[in-house]
């Protein structure tokens, strides 16, 4: 018999019993539907213990890598500690080591966590202003390339946390952040695959990390970045991205502006439209989307209809804080 620890309670799991059956038989309600390892309603995460391969069948590689599994198809091979996927609550103390403007609205916040901090470029963290107030920000840094973690924070009009970061936070201050969360990151293993990345505003942050991570990993397929804003002033890291595209033949950078005439070197139009028009069919491509939720939702559907497989579409919409 294996032991399953869930929410501080330990349960005995009989031979041939699944995690779902075990918890349900002990009166612990876990949402489920097909009970056949397909619909993914019973998704859980293992924090301890090895997982049987069949419990991760059909999951996106980025979920499998973080030890997510399906409770209905998991017959434990180890004692396990498991949780339901509500991550982002852990608090890790960190020191602010720099705040640098990227444009008139966006700053780069550099942090040094007090303890070793594991993350994948493209994931996000919750950044705590105080115990009760936090916002999610994507990680723009790459663990193997950068010696600190970096966030791109846009000043939101009347935004509680972003205004505090822009106006009050200073190098030397101490803050709390959560562990890294999210499944929008680069997974090695298919180096010839085309990567299409579309972002608006500070949605560039995770995409910038993913691109540098992929290039550092030796990704060979085309990597195309489309970054959109209303005007040139809304874009940032323009010189860094142009330089990166000169250094790597397979990386292209297309800055797009949606209002007014585009100067030389920029594209005129909505970033999603420009990207779809230039790339054409997306069969076999991997797609990363980040930024404005309307753009991200439209892009999910349109890139899928253009041929990208649902398993290959990774998105991180910015969800506005509840007012």
């Amino acid at each position: 018999m294996k032991r399953i620890v869930y929410e501080g309670q330990s349960y005995g799991c009989s031979e041939n019993e699944t995690v779902l059956e075990c918890l349900n038989s002990h009166g612990v309600p876990i949402p489920s539907s097909c009970k056949a390892g397909v619909c993914q309603t019973c998704l859980m995460r293992a924090t301890k213990g090895n997982l049987p391969p069949e419990s991760q069948k059909g999951l996106k590689p980025t979920l499998a890598e973080q030890n997510y599994f399906l409770a209905c198809s998991c017959r434990p091979i180890d004692d396990m500690e498991i949780s339901t996927p509500e991550p982002g609550q852990g608090k890790i103390p960190a020191k602010v080591i720099g705040i640098e403007p990227l444009n008139s609205d966006i700053v780069c916040v550099k942090l040094n966590p007090d303890i070793p901090f594991q993350y994948r470029a493209g994931q996000y963290i919750n950044f705590f202003k105080d115990a009760a107030t936090s916002r999610s920000y994507s990680l723009a840094s790459v663990a193997r390339l950068d010696d600190c973690i970096k966030l791109h924070v846009r000043r939101i009009p009347r935004g509680t946390v972003s205004t505090w970061i822009h106006e009050s936070l200073a190098p030397g201050d101490r803050v709390d952040i959560s562990e890294a969360i999210g499944d929008c990151f680069y997974v090695p293993g298919n180096p010839e695959q085309g990567l299409l990345l579309i972002g608006t505003g500070s949605g560039l942050a995770p995409l910038y990390g993913i691109i540098r991570d992929a290039l550092a990993d030796g990704h060979k397929g085309p990597i195309r970045l489309y970054h959109g804003s209303l005007n040139v002033e809304g874009l940032y890291l323009i010189e860094e991205l142009r330089k990166l595209s000169l250094e790597h033949e397979n990386f292209s950078y297309s800055p797009c502006i949606s209002e007014g005439e585009a100067p030389e070197g920029f594209y005129q139009g909505i970033v999603l439209d420009v990207a779809l028009k230039q790339t054409g069919t997306l069969s076999g491509w991997r797609v990363y989307l980040c930024g404005n939720p309307d753009m991200v939702n439209a892009a999910k559907k349109k890139t899928f209809l253009a041929g990208a497989s649902m398993r290959d579409i990774y998105a991180d919409p910015f969800v506005p804080a509840a007012s």
Binding site: S33, C34, K35, A36, G37, V38, C39, Q40, K57, G58, K60, K300, K301, F304, L305, S309, M310, R311, I313
Partner: protein
Amino acid sequence: MSDTLYDKIGGDAAVNVAVDIFYRKVLADDRISRFFDGVDMDRQAAKQKAFLTMAFGGPNKYTGEDMRRGHAHLVAKGLNDSHFDAVMENIAATLTELNVPGDLIAQAAAIAESTRKDVLGK
């Protein structure tokens, strides 16, 4: 040992290919695409895979009650026989596109058809 319909169609690998083709057809079908507005596409694709797996005679434990509960909010939005017919057409077109023989398509269609009353809450 005789292969099941699920094995003949190509098992899990075939369903993975079929679900993308099927979901693309459904989203592009003006008769039914509105029922999919505003849903999380990842979750929806997983559910469609579960549904196709069932229609192909593969592993599933869906009950009529699950089907009823899962579609009640759509019935409230006007889901009716004409929409169910459209989905049936899209299933057949998906399998045709994958070069599945006609007799197997008919078997899969019969399984899908058997859920009609529960899906439509009749």
